[in-house]
């Protein structure tokens, strides 16, 4: 009898626990990663392109700019690359690349192989610029309008995410 009473209580608690787990799993925002949306763009030092040219920073603070963080070692970047090419062709927007912790030779090979949708690519060999921008890892895409980050996608960008979060600014 004692065993059964004990077990009944235990089972009751267990079912409660399972219920809690089930509810907790419903929360799909379990580990929310904060996007940089709504924050101003801050660039406090000189930037260079992968060709070694100095970047005109002022140009990044005016108008609509898409900043795409990519790298040759990043496989998801290859997946989103055709979509970026499409955007470059169809939308009237400046696309700037940010080569994240990557060797210049590798980046150039990558752009030769898959095509170059970027007006230019900023070099970020040690990742410090990405760190300032709040980048977690490539691929990431920012939409910057007049120096303000209005949309930020962490991960692969595709037509669905574009329509959902980026299209409204065009």
């Amino acid at each position: 009898m004692i065993t059964r009473a004990f077990l009944a209580i235990f089972l009751f608690l267990l079912i409660g626990l399972l219920g809690f787990f089930a509810i907790s799993l419903q929360n799909d925002d379990m580990q929310p990663i904060k996007t940089q949306e709504g924050k101003p763009l801050i660039l406090d030092r000189e930037l260079y392109t992968i060709e070694g040219m100095k970047v005109d920073k002022e140009s990044l603070f005016s108008g609509k700019i898409i900043l795409n963080v990519y790298a040759s070692y990043c496989l998801p970047c290859v997946i989103e690359h055709p979509f970026l090419m499409e955007i470059a062709d169809s939308k009237n927007v400046k696309i700037v690349g940010l080569s994240h912790k990557d060797q210049i030779v590798e980046t150039k090979k990558y752009l030769e192989k898959y095509g170059n949708p970027y007006d230019f690519s900023i070099l970020d060999l040690d990742g410090s610029l990405s760190l300032k921008l709040g980048v977690i890892g490539p691929p990431e895409t920012f939409l910057i309008i007049n120096g303000e980050i209005v949309a930020h996608r962490i991960g692969v960008i595709d037509i669905d995410i574009w329509n959902d979060r980026f299209e409204k600014y065009f």
């Binding site: 065993t3 235990f10 089972l11 399972l18 089930a22 509810i23 580990q31």
Partner: protein, 601 residues
């Protein structure tokens, strides 16, 4: 090909399950168990071969390997992430079933145990094939992999996960026998089988936890060995339940509290599944979160629900057939019951502390985390209660006194615990207990009394472990400072000179090596601390420089370089770390000896 191997094996499990339940086809079921292991083994060889031949069209291999990775780690990358380690666990479980079938030719428990294992295996395989298939293939094969997580490129971590998994797997075996016993009868033969498996699982799980703890200390560079991290806690929970279970098996001689033992056997297994659910679902944030994925969580939760409801339901309906008695007041068995109660209390403390954040998030939709203070403050008195219990057990004369005196002693013991807690005298007290136990041991040896070595040394190890942990907690210190090469720093009576810093290239990483010279009361030695930059993805890891001595360890972590050429450095002196490892090893050896010794019977 790989995926079909998994499905075929799952199909075999269904056959094993149903054949094992029919008396006529037992032999067929046995042969199928061998065939199943063979099938899985082929699958493992296939995957292993792909790793060695750098076939990055496999998603799993792309994620965990790289052309530059040394061959040794290419092999160990097999179980570096969720998919492979779960696959390994399945292979282990089915090999255990094979071992059972070879070792026990004719046992009436065998077929029931086989069907329970097949039942578990079937769901594991489905889980593997559907949500975490290691054989998944890319449409376009990438040229190179994204490398094994650098933190995992360490010999200790090559064996830590399989050990932990092996511990879990072995508890599934004890579980299968406990279930088998529930539907037949618990006799001497079954108890000896359960005791051996319980001993082996206890040993492996302890070893797995110890290795993980050593890895945290040497590789993560946090300067600690236990952090009450959720993932550590979920490994600790089955360990605690397993400890209680192994102790409760001592009751078996006169079948005292049989149903309690059955309950613990089931609980241990369920906690190990709960462990994989919590680790793999990402329901809690932890250092181990790299392994998480919510879709797996749903599946594992369903598995946990299924296993727990089926086994506890069966237990509920069979409980009246389990004859159990109560132990006599203050007998040895009575102390064992107290031991079980205390272990369950610790388990509850860990359980609540680990899961409270989930509860809090569901109710208040806010993040919450439980600090180490909660655990250490609640668990320390419980550990002391345990120590008092087994010290008391060494003195049978006190126990054989009349009930009144014995209860007075119990009350006094409780008072002692509170005093220790209040005055923070744990260190002193654990020292006293240590001395008492050793003295008693020597006296017994001199009087030619029979001594149970495994028990005595196991208990001694626990006291020594407690002592070292408290020592570490009380005296360890660290400082952070900026230092230029050839500068000198004084700390806790030691002096530290930053001798040099060099860059050394390696196969898959480059490292910055800092050499330090430490002088402590005539003792003079060098410590080398490294910072590694891995070539793929530029991940940076710190290799802590450690000079271990019996009483204290000297730790150096090389930090970042400043523009003026100076470096940030963390220097710590940790007491008792070596003693923690040694007492844990003593505990492990006692468990091992206690288990092996059984083969004589």
């Amino acid at each position: 090909m790989g995926t079909s191997i998994l499905w075929f094996s799952a199909f075999l499990c269904v056959l094993i399950f149903s054949f094992s339940l029919q008396r006529k086809s037992h032999n067929l079921a046995k042969n199928l168990i061998y065939a199943n292991l063979g099938t899985l083994f082929i699958g493992a060889l296939y995957l292993g071969y792909q790793f060695l031949s750098d076939n990055f069209s496999f998603v799993y291999i792309f994620q965990n390997s790289n052309v530059l990775l040394p061959t040794f780690y290419k092999v160990s990358a097999f179980w570096a992430a969720h998919e492979g380690s779960f696959f390994l666990m399945i292979i282990l479980l089915s090999s255990c079933a094979v071992i059972n079938n070879i070792a026990m030719k004719e046992s009436r428990y065998l077929s029931l145990s086989n069907s329970v294992i097949a039942f578990i295996l079937f769901f594991y395989l489905i889980f593997l094939a559907l949500t975490s298939n290691p054989f998944m293939i890319f449409e376009a094969a990438p040229l190179n992999g994204s490398d094994l997580n650098p933190l995992l490129q360490d010999p200790l971590l090559v064996i830590h996960p399989p050990m932990l998994f092996a511990g879990y797997v072995f508890y599934a075996i004890t579980f299968s026998f406990v279930i088998a016993g529930m539907f037949t009868d618990f006799d001497k033969e079954l108890f000896s089988i359960i005791k051996i498996w319980a001993g082996i699982s206890w040993f492996t799980l302890s070893l797995g936890i110890l290795l993980g703890s050593m890895w945290a200390y040497y590789e993560l560079g946090w300067g600690g060995y236990w952090f009450w991290d959720p993932v550590e806690n979920v490994a600790l929970m089955p360990w605690l339940a397993g400890t209680a279970f192994t102790h409760s098996l001592i009751f078996s001689k006169n079948k005292v509290l049989l149903s309690w033992m059955v309950f613990l056997g089931i609980l241990t297994f369920l906690l190990s599944i709960l462990g994989s659910f919590i680790v793999r679902s990402g329901i809690l944030n932890s250092v181990h979160s790299f392994a998480s994925d919510p879709s797996r969580g749903v599946f594992l939760l369903s598995l946990f629900a299924l296993f727990s409801l089926v086994s506890l339901g069966a237990f509920f309906f069979r409980s009246n057939f389990l004859h159990s008695g109560w132990p006599k007041f203050m007998s040895k068995n009575y102390l064992l019951v107290l031991n079980n109660i205390i272990l369950m209390t610790i388990l509850t403390i860990v359980f609540l502390g680990t899961l409270y954040p989930i509860y809090y998030e569901v109710i208040y939709s806010e993040k919450f985390s439980v600090g180490p203070k909660y655990f250490s403050e609640l668990i320390t008195p419980a550990v002391f209660a345990l120590i008092i219990l087994f010290t008391l057990e060494q003195f049978p004369k006190i126990l054989s006194m009349d009930k009144l005196k014995a209860s007075l002693i119990l009350i006094a013991a409780t008072a002692i615990i509170f005093i220790i807690n209040y005055f923070n005298m744990g260190l002193l007290l654990s020292g006293i207990f240590l001395a008492t136990l050793i003295l008693k041991f020597i006296l017994d040896l001199l009087n030619n009394e029979s001594v149970r070595l495994h028990k005595l040394f196991g208990h001694l190890a626990v006291v020594l472990l407690t002592f070292s942990v408290l020592l570490n907690h009380e005296f360890s210190k660290n400082i952070d400072f900026k230092i230029k090469p050839n500068d000198k720093v004084e700390f806790m009576g030691t002096s530290l000179i930053f001798k040099s810093v060099d860059v050394v290239p390696n196969k898959n990483f480059d490292s910055v090596v800092g050499t330090f010279e430490v002088e402590d009361k005539g003792r003079n030695f060098n410590i080398i601390s490294e910072k590694r930059v891995y070539k793929v993805g530029s991940v940076i890891t710190s290799e802590t420089g450690i000079a271990p001595y019996i009483t204290k360890d000297y730790l150096l972590v090389l930090g970042d370089r400043y523009k003026d050429g100076s470096w940030s450095v963390r220097y710590s002196i940790k007491y008792g770390i070596m003693m923690i490892w040694m007492s844990s090893c003593l505990l492990l050896l006692s468990i091992l000896y206690g288990t092996i010794r059984r083969y004589d019977y």
